[in-house]
Amino acid sequence: MKKLSKIACLVLASVTALSLSACGKKAVPVIGINQYGEHASLDNCRKGFLQGLTDAGLVEGTDYTVDYQNAGFDDAVATQIAQSFSAKNVAMMCAIATPSATACYAEAENKDIPVIFTAITDPVSSGLTGGNITGTSDKLPVEAQLDLIRKLQPDAKSIGILYTTSESNSVSAIAEYEAKAGDYGFTIESVGVTAQSEVTQAADTLIKKGVDCFSNLTDNNVVGVLASVLEKTDEAGIPVYGSEVEQVKLGCVAAAGIDYFKLGQQTGAIAAKVLRGEAKASAIPFETISEYGIYVNSKAIAKMGITVPDDVAAKAVEASEA
């Protein structure tokens, strides 16, 4: 058993060494960022968040340091990241996307570490209110999107939407689409998937149903393979509307959507207040972006033969990749 205990010691010692090396400077408050995974929108949230801290006059290195981790879209890893933040007594956890926020909020319970979230559609139904937690919601401007589609495609009748059945953000967005589509003379054809690998098959299904256009949500699985969806829809000549600027850059024709960088900035401003001790996170209600941008990709628009009315063109921001 001696050798056994030696090995146990070795493993423990290496874990200790590894963890200690990461602790470092104690005096500067650490912000632990728990991002669910990497894709353009979530990355923009993080970049915007850091910009928001800078805009508030905080300097990285003297006022705060950042410990950034992403969970690679794995819930159990998100939990362990949150747990290690809690063990290291970070001054604040910043959670990007719902699974990360859920994990941070659960692991912060013991010590009441403030949690600042972003990129969450419905913080109330996700149980992310009431404690030492606040942040920003990325609820989609559904009516603005329907209005935009009606203006660009006056004859369109049906809108196809792909979503993941287990993403509550998407499910609530679909419900809102279905409730409001009638007001703009549309019907909604939605197809749910359970995994990213099923998204392109679901896109084929929608194309076969003969929808006049696709409207895309911020569904993590769908956004992850949006490029391959666009390949199919381009071939079929069906325009796809995005829900934020990165999707338009990727080849969606247009979007009435949020700018995740701005959303991140707004989140950073809240975090700065909490970090400075001006207010407790529990005392700040979560915020929703009220302004949305109209983004267009003129290359994609030209390909689809869509004419942009002047009133839309006046507001729109060009978002095609150079």
Binding site: K3, L4, I7, L10, V11, L12, S14, V15, T16, L18, S19, L20, S21, A22, C23, Q35, E38, D67, Y68, Q69, N70, A71, G72, D74, D75, A76, V77, T79, Q80, I81, Q83, S84, S86, A87, K88, T98, P99, T102, A103, Y105, A106, E109, N110, S125, S126, G127, L128, G130, G131, T165, S166, E167, S168, V171, T194
Partner: protein, 297 residues
Amino acid sequence: MLELLVGIVTQGCIYALLSYGIYITYRILDFPDLTVDGSFPLGAAVTAVLITNGCNPYLTLLAAIAVGALAGLATGLIHVRVGVRDLLAGIITMTALFSINLQIAGSNLPVERTFDTIFTAAPTMALLGGVSLLARKLILSALLALLCKALLDLYLRTKNGLLLRATGDNAALVTTLARDKGSMKILGLVIANSLVALSGCIVCQEQRAFSATMGTGQMIFGLAAVIIGGTIFKKFSVVRGTTAALIGSILYKGCITAAISLGLPANFLKLITAVLFLVVLMLGNFRRKGEKRHAGA
């Protein structure tokens, strides 16, 4: 640092329940059981719904065990009675459970802080109210892991337990004893998936949430934990398979936390975790070579 270790051991103990399940199916029955990816969130879904409807959190443990048993029963019947291959039988149940789990919970379901979990309920507080939530989580999950291990060890030594072990090793023997090896397989799957669902139940209470995707990759985790534990303790015949599964699962969680703590770019996390696994397994192998030489001398 101490807290980091507490976190690792807590996670390791909670997920050890799942590893015991994989130990039964993979090691004892030689049955690659993919039901796990569905029965784990099944336990969590039932727990989240019950707790948010005011059910006693301790009762959810029993409820999770019951529904996990049903999931195992389904895979067992599909395999033994319908004659579907083992892997596919598990895949069929797992696939069906994804929809069933969503149907049970509605969608991803949070368990808000106004609801008590086993870590905050009155009886727990009466006994362990003096210590922090972190410590309560550690104590309760370690107790559960050890209790399940003890019960499982006891069972495996009974006549029925020996039959179960024979089913994987030497099925012909079971038949010559005039017992049905199919029924033994079904029983093994029932026990295994009860443990897996119980693990899902505790994770749900610890995380205060059910998410439909929480089962993804759990079978792989369990396999890795059982194999890591098994490799390290290969030479020690006194160490039981369940102990190896418990240690393996703590080591697995330890590797992930170590990788997180290394402070390398976030995208390297899985690579570092993989390297750490390899290191742990190599340590186990080196030791074994040394022992052999020793034994030969």
